[in-house]
Symmetry: C2
Subunit: 471 residues, 2 copies
Amino acid sequence: MNGDFLFKQVYDYVLNRIELNEWKEDDKLPSIRNLAADMKVHRLTVLKAYQLLKQENRIYAKDKSGYFVQSSDNSKYDNQDIPMISAYVQKNHLSEIHKVPVSYQFSQALIDPNLLPNRYISDYVKKVFDLYPKVLSTYSTVQGDEELRQSLSGYFNRQYKMFTNPDHLLITTGSQQAIHLIAQAFVKARDTILLERPSYSSAIDMFRAIGANIITVDIHPYGYDLEQIEHLMKKHKPRLFYLNPTFHNPTGYTVPPAQRKQLVQLAEQYRCLLIEDDAYSDIYFDEEPPTPIYTYDTSGMVIYIKSFCKYISPGLRIAVMMNGHESVRKSLFTVKSLADNGSPLLNQKIFLHYFSSSRLQQHVEKLRIALQIRKEIMEKELSAANWQWTSPNGGLNLWVQLPDHLSTEDLLTKAIDQSISFVPGQICDPLKQPSSWLRLSYSFANEEQISKGIRKFINLVQRDGSHASEA
Amino acid sequence: MNGDFLFKQVYDYVLNRIELNEWKEDDKLPSIRNLAADMKVHRLTVLKAYQLLKQENRIYAKDKSGYFVQSSDNSKYDNQDIPMISAYVQKNHLSEIHKVPVSYQFSQALIDPNLLPNRYISDYVKKVFDLYPKVLSTYSTVQGDEELRQSLSGYFNRQYKMFTNPDHLLITTGSQQAIHLIAQAFVKARDTILLERPSYSSAIDMFRAIGANIITVDIHPYGYDLEQIEHLMKKHKPRLFYLNPTFHNPTGYTVPPAQRKQLVQLAEQYRCLLIEDDAYSDIYFDEEPPTPIYTYDTSGMVIYIKSFCKYISPGLRIAVMMNGHESVRKSLFTVKSLADNGSPLLNQKIFLHYFSSSRLQQHVEKLRIALQIRKEIMEKELSAANWQWTSPNGGLNLWVQLPDHLSTEDLLTKAIDQSISFVPGQICDPLKQPSSWLRLSYSFANEEQISKGIRKFINLVQRDGSHASEA
């Protein structure tokens, strides 16, 4: 064990006691001799930690009588008016693009409401009120409705041979909340984490907001470079790797089964949690994708997040996360209890009854066909331009590269002027570098809007591109 | 401006760039001369910051060529297995007490479901599906449904002359989420905040989880000691004061109007946000309580949190927060967008239609009477014991002091054995000190359960107390 590690351990221990107010203003700190004995470190290590804390004005020394807790000095806020407060908050870029109403909506990876089972889902709502007349007068448990967890766990066991059980599940208000809870439970400022490059932009924003040290893993049409991942895990000892291995957002790529298995082994070896976000696996076009990475997990290193609601009823905001390790789950339950004390029960019950109905399967089958048709229309229109993309076998998005000289970030303003929206690649890049990639979702606009909108968009880019070349 | 402040500013600036990965491994830092010029500080200040960062192993120096970003050293996690992760997470004590099912439920400050408008609220649900057939297939905006915000803002204007508008409102998934969002937006580890003593235990847990430096303000039957508050604001420059001034939880005390006005003046003077949590003001017994502190705010220093759902339909999990300062709201919207991207639309629409109905007013009037009767029964039974409490004029709780030698924390285990639950005072104490106070809620148990349960509880305490005296 190296000296820096021990030093940091002592430093953090003392600082935490002070911050939690266990050791209060002008309290005497343990003597260097005693703390060194308690923590089984060298006395010089404690001295070094005390010296740094003294330099940072957290403690002070009195000759011969030792070290004491400094009164907290908040002078750093002396000159702050309220507007300064916002410096604490990281932007959520995607939600800002979505605010703009457009006719050709290719930025939202949401299903067209006309493809959703609006009419008959209200039958299930009435059923819920008949079955549970007091559903609105009680809270759900923090972990989520027992009946729903049973139904979901049964589904995972049948569908993927996951051998999970209802205790392993936590119901959340959408998958975004699931990621947010994980970030709060397991990542603090300066902690290193791995993200795919590109990645889901809201996840990037969340981890940046915490001040995590983000290291990126490239994702390719064939999956990952596992040597790169092993190197990064070895070198940086990341706390977690947030990944989206099935019809990846935004690229649409899928990580093959052999890599899934090896990734779990690496995660176990380097004690790195894998956060598998699975939003799209039911939206496949020709054949079913590989089973989740979670199915290879034997030691609780994978937290699996599944959201069904995107293609059933996004308005319900119900997702589920799953993990096999008790202490991981315990942390998540606690964070959930602090965040909102449990997702609304009504939403869970409505979801339960629709989810366990035979109508769901029929709906999903129809939806796959409708989305495949939209994808094909978008690809056909795009083939008129000289752009690059890998045709995905599922999901809601095309990840398209424009000719090199074009920045898609700059293009967005012009596109919105023409009532077209998309997600520029830079937003999906954890490193936020300028990019000639963009994400086009084919799930929200209908066939006609896709045809017209893509033609209009190609015109815009080609006009703009020729200007750019001239300039 | 003192040197420590400038030093910290430079130190934080450099560290943030490194943590956000804007300055990467082995990148050269700006020269001391340049950074000093950019930040308008003395070169020695920059040198001091670089030296500390070097000591902390975040940067390294090369002779004559300057300072460079160190590769991140994560060796501190070398020995950590997953269970260590839970050390990041603070317990939520209250939710653990609530997990235990008991016959005499005095720990949950929730309304008995039998007093809630279960039967006719389902009419509103059907109405919602008729009015908005696609309510389940769309997301709410991050800020919350426009129609609901209009209705609520109209209500606040009529009820309290608040002169608010729909843009000032943010809809949240329960008031617990509102507090959680505020904590995330405005408080970081080591920041000083004020909490009442005692206070709402989940709020205490949330601020502790962030690592805030918590300073307490005593609350008395007559309100606060404003000199104490001024002294604390002056000395500690707290970022915010979380308070619950109307039928305060757990004590039931109400802060009088004159103090409300002065508190806002203090908050403005010392730039301290006031977080006014108002859950109980509609549950008054004889006369209406003073108008919210928010009504005295002229400069956006108050964030007002209102939850109606507790006495309408807790299962909906709808609350609202309000603030008059644009940059404060902007921070909150961003944090909300990261946390869950907006509360479920269905729940907002159901709430809207019930909230704007005439049935609501009738329901609340009946509820006040029912709860006052339960309170009086509980007080009558309690009068058999020689315990102390101040009879509240509203809210859901009695705050009772047992004879001095009894710790209510120890008592809880014995009470639960007898199927009685309550909240021990220690849980409501931000300083977590042993206490002979306890919170008894009269809102959940019915009349008969209150009578029987309190008698049983007095027997238990008196038996236990005599043992304690003997020991």
